[in-house]
Symmetry: C2
């Protein structure tokens, strides 16, 4: 077993041993009372994590498919969509709309920026017939978090549009209150805040979204959330689910409920703040205008761009991520997301400081780690 | 751990411990050379199992989604389709065509029957513009296997249609030679012959199917096999794959390659023959006209319909399946599919005979088991 490698990638994230052991259990037949009981518990716990009383649909797929399911189920071909695009995953909403022939206005911001409320007011005043506004809560490619409750409020105030949120790397990590904030559809995936392997994704729908689901007649079958809803009434799934992954999710959700959502959010905030302060202390620059508490994105100074920091860290047993798309080679990304604790992160910070010094960057690894630990203590 | 329950359901099937332990390994980052190497080996082994040199695409989804991907990628909205429907899964091809607005001729046979070649000739002569003919190699709901090589030959002889095969419960269990038999698209899923948990599905495409993929412009994104093909060129996947399930699949495929395809087919045939002979010896009637070597479907005599045989077997630790759709309460189904061996099946047969006797059916459990074992020996 490869127990020495630690993942600090923003998905997949580290999967606790307790969850992995559950994956290895002999399979349960999915059309059985035992499995229905598990599905029922999973659903109840997902509602808690999404902060909703409405249905949370579980798909056997990656997060992208959950995004596609939202478009296939909630939008008709003549519905106008507004997409806020400030990174790779915002762009995915636009691509999906285009693939489905949905007339889309893509409001493109420079990568690293976060949409501001008055900018959104302007967009909604300029065109008032949007059926849906697509947001990315945490743009994993840039490390930016938007001010979701404020933006959702603006949308409801200035339009009748559905508020659709990519919460793939935020749900279960950043504060997100679906009902209270009036979010109509929130998608997420198991390999992020949920501490699970990839392969399961989630779509939570408001009553308005449930209504929209009935109105549209797009081609869909596997992603047909009406089938999922009908099955869920009997704690069932329309198609054979990824049973092992669901057992793992059941375990992870119970761990999350035991820790408690507020404390999970606080833990992410504390780890993120200490990581950011440490990067600044290292004379490195953060990439994000409004950094998300799940991933710290750091600009690679010119002097370090040819040093293969990521490869060097990998040789030491720590996996972090580089830039995607146009940010390739320009940034590195450290995720403190899901099952991440102080000790794990302190070890990574120590390794990073060592690698930086070896690459000619002025720093003292011991001092860096104690700064990190002081920041953590201050954040309590 | 629930180690006492044994699955004889036609998916999920029993997952060997070796595969389950691989699921529990710490995750590998999917954008890494280590993971690419695994994907490359998986692809090569899948080509062997499907008996093709062409691409076999792996989707994170159930088998139904692989069926949907075939329709979304290979058919345009004005393409005429012929579906042979003789059970629940044949009907799914028709439903999918209808969901996608594909003009479909559904040739419905009574459940339990198998399409005969001259019947197919008649269908193709009556209407000669089918773009695709959809077949179900093993109709899991009725236990029928069609004579696939003969029917595929007929299709090529009498039409230019693509031969599209649901091989979900047959690939890696029943003889299937994609290239040699001229099959254009074959879909399958991990939780059947592949001895894995559900959550991964496969689409193998002939060169003609690869051409068709380029011609159609249907809305698709997650299921877009053009994206999958592009990624596969770099041993990559277009979206985050179900990493743990892929590790399990890698293990299972290596086990399959070690056993060898011919021997796997023979094992399934031998187990199936002995099971069928035993059922007939028990004065029970087989449901299928042309029984498949992966699942034995038995009619429940009136005297046994209220005895809950399935529940009684479950209490003894053996899970078999009942009827689906219109066959609910009328049949039971014993799968000898995937990781099934003589000992497992002999134990099930013994338990079944005991339960039958306790339900008032005339039989001697010891004699039943020795008949079963004799049949197995005779089949060597």
């Amino acid at each position: 077993m490869q127990t020495d490698i630690k993942l600090f990638t923003p998905g997949p994230t580290h999967v606790p041993e307790q969850v992995r052991l559950r994956l290895a259990q002999p399979l349960i037949y999915h059309r059985s009372p035992e499995f229905r009981q598990i599905l029922q518990r999973v659903e109840k716990n997902l509602q808690y994590i999404f902060q909703t009383e409405q249905n949370v649909y579980v798909l056997t797929s990656s997060g992208t498919a959950a995004m596609e399911a939202v478009i296939a189920n909630l939008l008709s071909s003549d519905d106008q969509a507004l997409v806020i695009e400030a990174g790779k995953f915002g762009a995915r909403w636009s691509e999906l709309c285009m693939a489905y022939g949905v007339p889309v206005t893509s409001h493109k911001l420079p990568w690293g920026r976060a949409l501001q409320p008055d900018e959104l007011v302007g967009l909604l005043q300029a065109k008032n017939d949007f059926r849906a506004v697509f947001l990315t809560h945490c743009e994993t490619s840039t490390g930016v978090a938007i001010d979701l409750p404020v933006l959702a409020k603006v949308i409801h105030q200035y339009s009748a549009a559905l508020v659709i949120v990519d919460g793939i790397s935020s749900v279960g990590a950043l504060p997100l209150k679906m009902r209270e904030w009036g979010l109509d559809a929130v998608v997420s995936a198991a390999q992020k805040g949920f501490m699970c392997p990839p392969g399961l994704s989630f779509v939570a729908c408001s009553p308005r979204a449930e209504q929209a689901m009935i109105a549209t007649n797009r081609p869909r079958y596997y992603f047909d959330l009406r089938k999922a809803r009908q099955a869920l009434e009997h704690n069932d799934t329309p198609f054979t689910p990824a049973i092992s992954l669901l057992l793992g999710l059941d375990e992870a959700l119970q761990m999350m409920c035991t820790e408690g959502l507020e404390r999970i959010w606080q833990r992410h905030h504390r780890l993120a703040q200490a990581t950011r302060a440490t990067m600044i202390g290292l004379n490195l620059q953060l990439f994000a205008e409004q950094p998300a508490d799940v991933v710290t994105v750091v600009r690679l100074p010119a002097a370090l761009q040819d040093k293969d920091l990521i490869g060097q860290l990998k040789n030491r047993g720590f996996i972090i991520a580089g830039g995607q798309g146009k940010l390739k080679g320009q940034i590195f990304r450290i995720a403190h997301l899901g099952a991440c604790d102080e000790q794990d992160l302190a070890e990574l910070i120590a390794a990073l400081a060592t690698v930086l010094r070896e690459s000619g960057w002025a720093c003292q690894p011991d001092a860096v780690v104690s700064t990190f630990r002081q920041q953590l203590t201050a954040g309590r």
